[in-house]
């Protein structure tokens, strides 16, 4: 009986540790929601900043982040999905496949600031794209490529082998099989998994510091070669470099709330879609 009481106490402590972590997450989110909600109104979301960000809105930063994310998707999604199709449908256990997998793992572990240096070296300077949306998106695309590949491969794996065998038995070629019998069932999973990578791209600051971001740009970017304002960079500057850091607190909170809503909104959509598709396709 004595052991039982001891067990219960220890289980209680383990539970406490878990709930402590959860409590801190909830605290951070609530703090930003409660303090940020007051700053958010139509003007804040739709006007340009004035007086070095002390007044006005964050419209160009929202648009800038959306531009960066859209171009990043356009670059990384096709490449990532095609890589996953190769790995799951075509690849055999060869040396080449092994190296590809090693490269993906390596890429997933590269610190975001190193991606920033890389983007500066290759896109901004060597390819002469300058500090621009294009340089920033290419850098972000390299960063989220592993996430997209890994989650797309998971989705392809979950399509049962019999789907492919049935198609081959009817005389279909490999590509016909992939296109008609594998992709239609895998694409929802591939997309939702990829959304998680996209959420990460929207919130990252370090890779765009020297490749794309400007604290203030007087108009919306006109082409992919323009610099761009971005929500995470805007928050960083407001919170650390702004001369009146304490006076602009509401604007900082408002920016943080918009950023967090955008990123977590993207992630929550992905999590919901994932559970929806898991229920829809049961084999």
């Amino acid at each position: 009986m004595k052991i039982k009481v001891q067990d219960l106490i220890i289980f209680g402590l383990i539970r406490l540790a878990t709930y402590f972590v959860v409590f801190i997450i909830a605290y951070i989110l609530l703090d930003i929601i409660v303090n940020g909600i007051g700053a958010i109104n139509w003007e804040f979301l739709t006007t340009f900043p004035r007086k070095g960000g002390s007044e006005g809105g964050i419209f160009p930063a929202i648009v800038g982040t959306l531009y960066l994310v859209l171009l990043t998707i356009a670059i990384a999604l096709p490449l990532g999905m095609a890589s996953a199709i190769y790995l799951n449908e075509y690849a055999k256990q060869t040396r080449f496949t092994h190296i590809v997998r090693l490269a993906i793992i390596t890429l997933a572990g590269v610190p975001s600031i190193v991606f920033g240096l890389f983007g500066l070296g290759i896109f901004v300077i060597f390819l002469k794209f300058g500090t621009s949306i294009l340089s920033g998106s290419l850098t972000l695309a390299c960063m989220i490529l592993p996430t997209i590949i890994v989650s797309s491969e998971e989705a392809l794996k979950s399509v049962p082998m019999q789907f492919r065998e049935a198609s081959y038995a009817l005389g279909a070629t490999k590509w016909q099989t992939i296109r008609k019998n594998v992709l239609p069932y895998a694409i929802p999973g591939m997309l939702t998994g990829s959304i998680l990578g996209i959420g990460r791209a929207a919130g990252e600051t370090a890779p765009i510091l020297f490749t794309a971001a400007a604290f203030f740009f007087p108009r919306l970017p006109g082409s992919v070669f323009d610099q761009v304002m971005a929500l995470p960079y805007h928050l960083y500057v407001l919170a650390t470099q702004h001369p009146g850091m304490d006076e602009v607190r509401p604007i900082q909170y408002g920016t943080a709330l918009v950023l967090i809503s955008l990123v977590l909104g993207i992630n929550i959509i992905a999590i919901f879609l994932r559970s929806y598709f898991i229920r829809k396709y049961k084999w």
Partner: protein, 289 residues
């Protein structure tokens, strides 16, 4: 015949796409090396081993990386010290103790934590955690190594939980049944059977957590105070390798020594995370065999 050609070219297309990852990794090493090389392969390289980091100076610039490396290590060490107990215990709780409803509620919340942008965590550190630390410990400023370590611990926790949780779940239930059949209590089963069997996975989780912490940039840049000093005190302000690159690269002259040294710092970071990653994969692979 044309069908065969079509099939062949499609296969080549997908193979090409898969090559992208290799090419990007190669280019990262190549371009970091290219920008760092003129400094790295000159007699100036000895400057990197100095103990002072004064990159901008009218008299003599100092590029000693020791303060940056010790800064990164101090913050990382403290962060892991906090994150490992909480991460591993939470993983044990989620996989072995919690009931289904608890699991379904807690897991998405922890996944959510992994999604909070680092700049927002840093912002939280400035406005909320910094005053708490300042008042609790009677410090002049709450922006120090401890602040960074607490926030980084928070950011490493989801990584540690998710991977440890996978490892614990993959322990065969026959092991647990055998332990219980021999009269082991639930706690004994967890402590003597489940955790030891999952240990390699937990170690890999910790290594990947370290990799995440040492490479994290925005949070430490915002909350650690950024003084390049060699210290072991959590209450001192420190400057990490990542924060140095982020703070200084925007203001250096292209092609200057300072510019090249920042790329050297990047190479060191890349090598550290690459090494941690490879060891973690080795540990994980041995497990799955």
């Amino acid at each position: 015949m044309s069908v065969m050609w079509k099939e062949k070219s499609i296969k080549i297309f997908f193979t090409g796409a898969a090559t992208t990852s290799i090419v990007v990794v190669g280019l990262i090493f190549l371009f970091l090396g290219k920008e760092a090389a003129p400094f790295l392969f000159s007699e100036n390289i000895v400057k990197l081993f100095g103990t002072e980091w004064v990159p901008v100076s009218f008299e003599k610039e100092q590029f000693g990386m020791l303060p940056l490396i010790t800064g990164s290590f101090l913050v990382t060490f403290l962060a892991i010290l906090f994150a490992v107990p909480f991460g591993v215990l939470s993983a044990v709780y989620l996989s072995e103790i919690a009931n289904k409803t608890e699991q379904e509620m807690l897991k998405p919340l922890i996944e959510l934590l992994a999604g909070i942008p680092s700049v927002v965590i840093g912002f939280f550190g400035i406005i909320a955690l910094s005053p708490i630390l300042k008042n609790t410990f009677g410090l002049e400023s709450g922006l120090n190594a401890l602040n960074g370590a607490i926030l980084l611990a928070l950011m490493a926790t989801p990584t540690i939980i998710t991977i440890s949780d996978d490892a614990i779940r993959s322990v065969p239930s026959s092991y647990k049944q055998a332990s219980i059949a021999l009269g082991g209590s639930k706690l004994q089963t967890i402590w003597r059977v489940v955790v030891p069997d999952a240990l390699s996975g937990i170690i890999a989780a910790v290594m990947l957590g370290i990799g995440r912490v040492i490479g994290e940039t925005m949070t430490v840049l915002m909350v650690t105070g950024n003084a390049a000093i060699i210290t072991a005190s959590p209450f001192d302000s420190v400057r990490t390798m990542t924060a140095t690159i982020a703070a200084e690269m925007g203001e250096v002259a292209f092609g200057s020594d300072h510019y090249r040294v920042l790329f050297c710092v990047g190479i060191i970071l890349l090598l550290i995370t690459f090494g941690l990653n490879m060891i973690a994969q080795k540990v994980l692979r041995r497990r799955s065999v």
